[in-house]
């Protein structure tokens, strides 16, 4: 067992509410809300964590208390009327069944939301200062409106209590209305709500006092706040400590949930939700400082991805509860596994930010490596055993093949996994070669550990052949041979190198490089960083409107920061139309996507990123011999039923991942899980 595990597994009692251990998940918006209510999908997602041993799970990040803070953006929860109470009741019963506690976050988002949705009310704030992130200019709140919103908070907390929730926190972090009053970067009022810190703290105080009156002294009400806004005109660390100490001393809050930074613009957003480029627990010093000044428990979340760090944070007294929100998205059973001595089975969050990046483009939270998260109604976190033991051959040990082997082996099948390379991991091994993307290697590391533990016959350095596969007399063959880089369709494309050539070290470039990208993903941005770090002069050309257009909002700013620092030149809105030699150099012909104007570059190398094309030679050889001609029954996949093929007549042949069509890690893993769970 890890050091200090006992500190993590100790209960915490707040006002008579006992939380069974020190591990929690903070309120966030997974995008699962429906009609402003936490319905089945939302509840099952949290129930899985409760089953998995979590002490406290908080849901409803930014649940709104008022009509002028709409719930529609990010599919959030509205606590603005009583219709939500029955949902809270079924939700809390569901979580309490497993011994866990359930709380919600209540907030008014102020200017940090949209006006062009739901009821089309203007956004509001302490002062009419535009927020870059939400792109809204808010209306300045009048005293009557302040009183209304204070009342809305009080009504909302009553609904939480009636709904059986164990408590709630108000959000005064990430630039919501309460911290829009606190922060001098927003609040320029001259009335009793502006000016001195005491005045700026007044709105929050009124909210908490009203909530306390509505919910009673025994109901747990906490606050989420920043420990340092880390901007010149924002709240300093000292001011944050003072706010926390004052609210705690005056009995307004029962716990303080501390984070670092704020989220008013792209870079601040990426810092406040640190990805894999950050060290683990980068802002632990902030709750630690606040804990020294307050008597109430202190919570903290921010890239605590492993239990050893979590245990240290609690054991050393920096925090009372440690939030492992993304860690639970990767593995909702992590506390159970810890307490059962199965730490090696924990699927650790790699910090890819796939979950949160999807939310900020209006999607639902999904885990890059755990396809069951958020799909609890259809996908199992614990794979049940199959009734009939089959022989399964999987070709290719990338994420799709590894997941297929893992799930089949967990079903009790006999599994042979061929991998022609010496190491498993597939294209993740290439992606992980790029600078701060190294942590991606955690995905295959866990999968390999599991397949070995489950007894899969993993044949590394062994290329599968038709004879070798048929020699195993398989019932099922799964082709997960992945994709190979495409060099695109420009004239003279054969003169280009692929990003994979650069990352794998197949070529080592120097001089000037034109990097052309039509995918907008991490691949080209990572490659640009690698090339520039090695001294190349890099021009990053893309047909998109801006580089790395498809990279999410917690990752893209990190790419930009690094590429700007390295002097990489960005040239968006250009197509690559031809590459031809001139002397020992290359000329790249480019065409503007809006004007069709053409221009040329003379460079030493052209590197291109066009995604991958399936490696399907083996599939085509086996296809005719299989009982299903290599086809997957889509109706059965969607219905969650076994593929309707008669294995008595021969073997079934399936493809998963990029061997089917070039997509991403999650797609490959989901392909494998949903197919194999019913084999």
């Amino acid at each position: 067992m890890i050091a200090n595990a006992d500190a993590l597994l100790k209960p915490l009692t707040i006002k008579g509410l006992t939380i069974r251990n020190r591990v929690m998940s903070t309120s966030h918006a997974p995008g699962y809300g429906k009609e402003g209510k936490p319905q089945e999908r939302y509840q099952l997602y949290h129930e899985e964590k409760a089953k998995g041993g979590i002490g406290l799970t908080m849901f409803g990040g930014s649940s709104s208390v008022a009509l002028d803070s709409p719930a529609a953006p990010w599919n959030q929860v509205s606590v603005a009327d009583d219709s939500v109470i029955p949902f809270f009741q079924s939700f809390s019963q569901r979580i309490h069944r497993h011994g866990a506690r359930l709380m919600i976050q209540l907030t008014h988002m102020g200017r940090r939301t949209k006006w062009d949705t739901e009821n089309w009310f203007p956004t509001v704030s302490s002062s009419p200062r535009r927020e870059p992130a939400s792109r809204t200019i808010p209306k300045e709140l009048e005293a009557e409106e302040i009183a209304r919103i204070v009342r809305d908070f009080a009504l909302a907390v009553r609904r939480c209590k009636e709904g059986g929730l164990d408590g709630c926190e108000v959000s005064a972090a990430h630039g919501h209305l309460i911290d829009q009053f606190w922060s001098p970067s927003v609040n320029h009022r001259t009335d009793r709500y502006g000016g001195s810190l005491e005045n700026r703290m007044r709105f929050g105080r009124e909210v908490l006092e009203a909530m306390r009156r509505a919910a009673g002294d025994d109901y747990v009400i906490g606050i989420r706040m920043s420990g340092d806004e880390m901007i010149a005109d924002g709240l300093s660390h000292e001011e944050c400590v003072e706010i926390a100490a004052t609210y705690a001393r005056d009995g307004l809050v029962d716990f303080i949930n501390v984070l670092g930074g704020q989220a008013r613009d792209d870079m601040a957003h990426a810092v406040s939700l640190p990805n894999m480029s950050f060290p683990v627990a980068p802002f632990l010093h902030l709750p630690s400082a606040i804990k020294r000044e307050v008597e109430v428990p202190v919570f903290h979340a921010q890239r605590v991805t492993d239990l050893a760090t979590a245990a240290r944070a609690v054991a050393e007294g920096h925090v009372d509860m440690v939030a492992m929100t993304r860690a639970h998205i990767a593995d909702p059973h992590l506390v159970k596994k810890l307490s059962e001595g199965r730490e090696d089975d924990i699927r650790q969050c790699v910090g890819a930010g796939y979950c949160i990046d999807r939310i900020y483009v209006g999607g639902d939270a999904l885990c890059i490596q755990n396809a069951a998260t958020g799909r609890e109604a259809t996908m199992p976190h614990v794979i049940p055993k199959a009734d009939v033991r089959r022989k399964v051959v999987v070709v290719g040990a990338g994420p799709g093949g590894l997941e297929a082997a893992r799930v089949c082996a967990a079903r009790g099948h006999q599994v042979v996994l061929f991998e022609k390379n010496a190491a498993a991991g597939g294209q993740i091994n290439i992606a992980a070669k790029a600078g701060w993307r190294e942590a991606l290697s955690g995905i295959p590391r866990w999968l390999v550990g599991q397949v070995v533990k489950l007894g899969v016959d993993l044949r590394l350095g062994t290329e599968a052949s038709e004879e070798a596969i048929l020699g195993e007399a398989p019932d099922v063959v799964i082709i997960a041979t992945g994709g190979a880089p495409s060099l695109g369709h420009a004239k003279g494309a054969e003169r280009a190198l692929s990003t994979a050539d650069v990352l794998t070290g197949k070529v080592e470039l120097s001089g000037s490089v034109l990097l052309f990208d039509e995918m907008g993903q991490h691949n080209a941005a990572s490659t640009a960083e690698v090339l520039a770090t090695r001294g190349c002069l890099v021009e990053f050309v893309t047909s998109d409107r801006y580089p790395a257009q498809e990279v999410g909002t917690t990752n893209q700013p990190i790419h930009y920061r690094e590429l700007y620092k390295l002097g990489v030149v960005f040239s968006p809105n250009l197509d690559l139309i031809e590459i031809y030699p001139e002397g020992n150099r290359l000329v790249a012909a480019l065409r503007n996507t809006f004007t069709d104007a053409e221009e040329e570059r003379i460079v030493d190398h052209v590197v291109v990123e066009y995604g991958t094309l399936p490696v399907d030679g083996l599939y085509r050889v086996l296809k005719a011999r299989s009982v299903n001609a290599g086809q997957i029954d889509l109706d059965a996949i969607v219905a969650g039923t076994p593929q309707p093929f008669d294995l008595a007549k021969g073997f079934a042949l399936y493809r998963v991942g990029d061997a089917l069509a070039g997509r991403n890690i999650h797609a490959a893993i989901y392909d494998a899980l949903r197919l194999c769970k019913d084999i």
Partner: protein, 644 residues
């Protein structure tokens, strides 16, 4: 003819003379024993019971080594019968009968056969556990005496001549043999017989295991045992009964692990101390023996570098009672060790460092780790275990024990709680009112702390209404069941394996099967050897459909995990760790799982590194079988969805 008759007469006289020599030898020992403290002995009952104790109880132990049992039956039976007949030959009516001497010759022939087996056992190569020295010449003396006496009797029976030469031969061997009674192999015969009659734990002969330690009068001037004279006289007698067969040595886990303890040597050091420190011990030494002066006396200290026994020897003991279980002379080694520890701890404060810290915590906080009593139930946070308060009544009081603080054992307890709930058992815990049971303090010799904890726990329990106590900790079970009655606490105490076994038998826990899982069960010493509960856990495991196999040592003869008696705290260095030895035995069975039933065993065995079977508590296995029997999970409760 007359020569033959005089030879038989001589033989008769010889036997009487040998008896006199033996009695004179033992008389000197009696004088030494009388220097011990007084002890209540029911002589009449003891002497009456002696034949049964010898022929049944002792025989049960001796016959575990069938060859040794046959050997002893022949040689001792022959010796007693032949010598008895020869002695009575002094009566003319008998001495004149050739048939009588034929019978006598037969008896000595039987003895000679036995004596030859004794010889074959020790020559050409003496087994490791047997002592040499005087014991190595024993077969020659037995053979000499038996051969000579056989010849004398046989010649007389045949009416032949030449008896006097044989008489001279047997006289020399016989007198040498009987002189081995004062200090030598033959002492065991007389001391052993007396020990059976005056045994300090007579209940051991009436079917109970009688393992409760005697409380100490804490007001006495001297606590525990410092010198041989501090032992009760019948304990000293018991030490003299030792025949140095080495069965204790072969069973001792500390000896096997190369720690400086050998129960046989320890008993001989106690005997040697009575003799003034002389010691002609010729058996295996203490492994990696720590040097001591080797001086002693009836009134001289026993333990210390300047005495007979090094403290490391004393603190190596796990109190597993394997030596006691194996001893054919029914010697109580562990009682002696506890008595010696009591003096070290209570009078001298000479406790190993980590053990001293634990005792300090027990004194200050009622808990060996200094942890809050309210934190004992932390493992069950979220399970809402009911706490028993005065005014409530409950069927089962769940005693959590020291192990509840341990994360690993918390898993076991959670499994047990789940099973209790599934079986609808009406149970509660003591919560913060549960103090340490005191087992650790008692085994480390801190009788004062144990007595206080026992009294306070008894007071707590007296105020509560419950029908029985259930615990997953055999140490707590033993303390509550066997040690607390002396402090006024009389409880029906169940170990969880027995309790779950009963629930399964009553059909209250429907089980699926863990078919095919290869498992071997490790008996906790405090459950098996101390309390004789070896059947219930096995019956329970068999109900799970497991493929169960036994380790080389199991049941009441099991090998300790190394965790008892505060040994993990004393932490005396050896060559290997005891749990490694035990795990080797588990590995040899090929089992995938070692089933355990004690938090200490769990911790010790899980501490074994390298590839090894998984360690799982019986409760965890029962829960797995229960869940396997539950089939498909119940249909999911749908969340409330908005109506379209």
């Amino acid at each position: 003819m007359s020569a033959a008759f005089s030879a038989t007469f001589g033989l008769s006289l010889l036997v009487w003379l040998m008896a006199a020599v033996a009695l004179a030898g033992i008389a000197a020992r009696v004088a030494l024993w009388r220097k011990g403290r007084a002890a209540h002995v029911d002589w009449a009952a003891g002497l009456m019971a002696m034949p049964k104790r010898y022929l049944v109880d002792v025989h049960h132990i001796v016959q575990r080594d069938a060859c040794a049992a046959r050997m002893h039956m022949l040689v001792a039976g022959g010796l007693l019968a032949g010598s008895g007949l020869a002695a009575l030959g002094i009566v003319p009516a008998l001495g004149g009968s050739r048939v009588y001497w034929a019978l006598t010759a037969l008896a000595f022939a039987i003895m000679l056969t036995g004596a030859c087996v004794v010889g074959l056992r020790r020559y050409p190569k003496r087994p490791h556990r047997l002592s040499g020295g005087r014991f190595q010449i024993l077969p020659w003396l037995l053979m000499g005496y038996a051969t000579g006496a056989l010849l004398v009797a046989a010649l007389a029976a045949l009416g032949a001549r030449g008896g006097l030469v044989a008489l001279a031969f047997t006289a020399a061997a016989g007198l040498a043999l009987s002189s081995q009674t004062a200090r030598g192999p033959m002492r065991h015969a007389l001391a052993g017989a007396l020990h059976l009659a005056a045994h300090p734990r007579p209940a051991r002969f009436s079917g109970t295991r009688d393992v409760a330690l005697a409380p100490v009068d804490l007001e006495a001037e001297r606590l525990g045992v410092e010198t041989p004279a501090d032992f009760a006289w019948n304990r000293l007698l018991g030490f003299d009964a030792c025949v140095q067969c080495g069965r204790c040595e072969a069973a001792c886990p500390a000896f096997a692990a190369g720690q400086p303890l050998n129960p046989k040597r320890l008993i001989q050091d106690l005997v040697g101390a009575m003799d003034g420190g002389t010691n002609d011990y010729a058996g295996s030494p203490y492994p990696h023996a720590r040097p001591v002066a080797g001086t002693g006396g009836v009134d001289a200290p026993l333990v210390g570098v300047a005495a007979m026994i090094h403290p490391d020897t004393l603190w190596s003991c796990t109190t597993c009672r394997a030596c006691v279980e194996e001893c054919p002379m029914m010697i109580e080694h562990v009682d002696a060790i506890i008595d010696l520890r009591r003096h070290q701890t209570l009078m001298l404060g000479a406790v190993p460092e980590k053990a001293a810290a634990a005792l300090d915590d027990l004194r200050d906080t009622d808990e060996a780790g200094g942890r809050a009593l309210s934190a004992r139930a932390d493992f069950a946070a979220g399970l809402d275990l009911p706490v028993l308060h005065p005014g409530m009544a409950v069927d089962v009081l769940l005693w959590l024990g020291e192990g509840a603080y341990d994360l690993r054992h918390g898993r076991t307890l959670r499994a047990l709680v789940r099973l209790l709930r599934e079986a609808k058992v009406d149970f509660a815990i003591l919560g913060a009112a549960e103090r340490d049971c005191g087992d650790l303090a008692r085994r480390l010799g801190d009788e004062a702390t144990f007595a206080r904890l026992a009294r306070e726990n008894v007071a707590t329990l007296s105020a509560l209404r419950f029908a029985r106590i259930l615990t997953a900790d055999p140490h707590a079970l033993n303390a509550l069941r066997n040690d607390y009655p002396a402090f006024g606490g009389h409880y029906e105490v169940w170990h969880h394996t027995a309790f779950l076994d009963a629930l399964v038998a009553q059909g209250r826990l429907p089980l699926g099967t863990l078919a095919g899982l290869a498992v071997t069960y490790h008996d906790p010493c405090y459950l098996g050897r101390y309390n004789g509960e070896v059947a219930a856990p096995r019956r329970l495991l068999d109900a799970l459909g497991l493929a169960r196999s036994e380790m080389a040592r199991h049941g009441t003869r099991s090998l300790c995990c190394g965790g008892g008696g505060g040994a993990p705290l004393s932490d005396i260095e050896g060559e290997r760790r005891i749990p490694d030895l035990r795990m080797d035995q588990a590995r040899d069975t090929g089992a995938a799982v070692v089933a355990v039933a004690c938090p200490t065993c769990t911790a010790m065995l899980e501490g074994v590194s390298g590839t090894r079977p998984e360690v799982r508590d019986v409760a965890e296995l029962v829960l797995a079988a229960f869940e396997a029997g539950q089939g498909a999970p119940a249909p999911r409760r749908r969340a409330l969805e908005l109506q379209p």
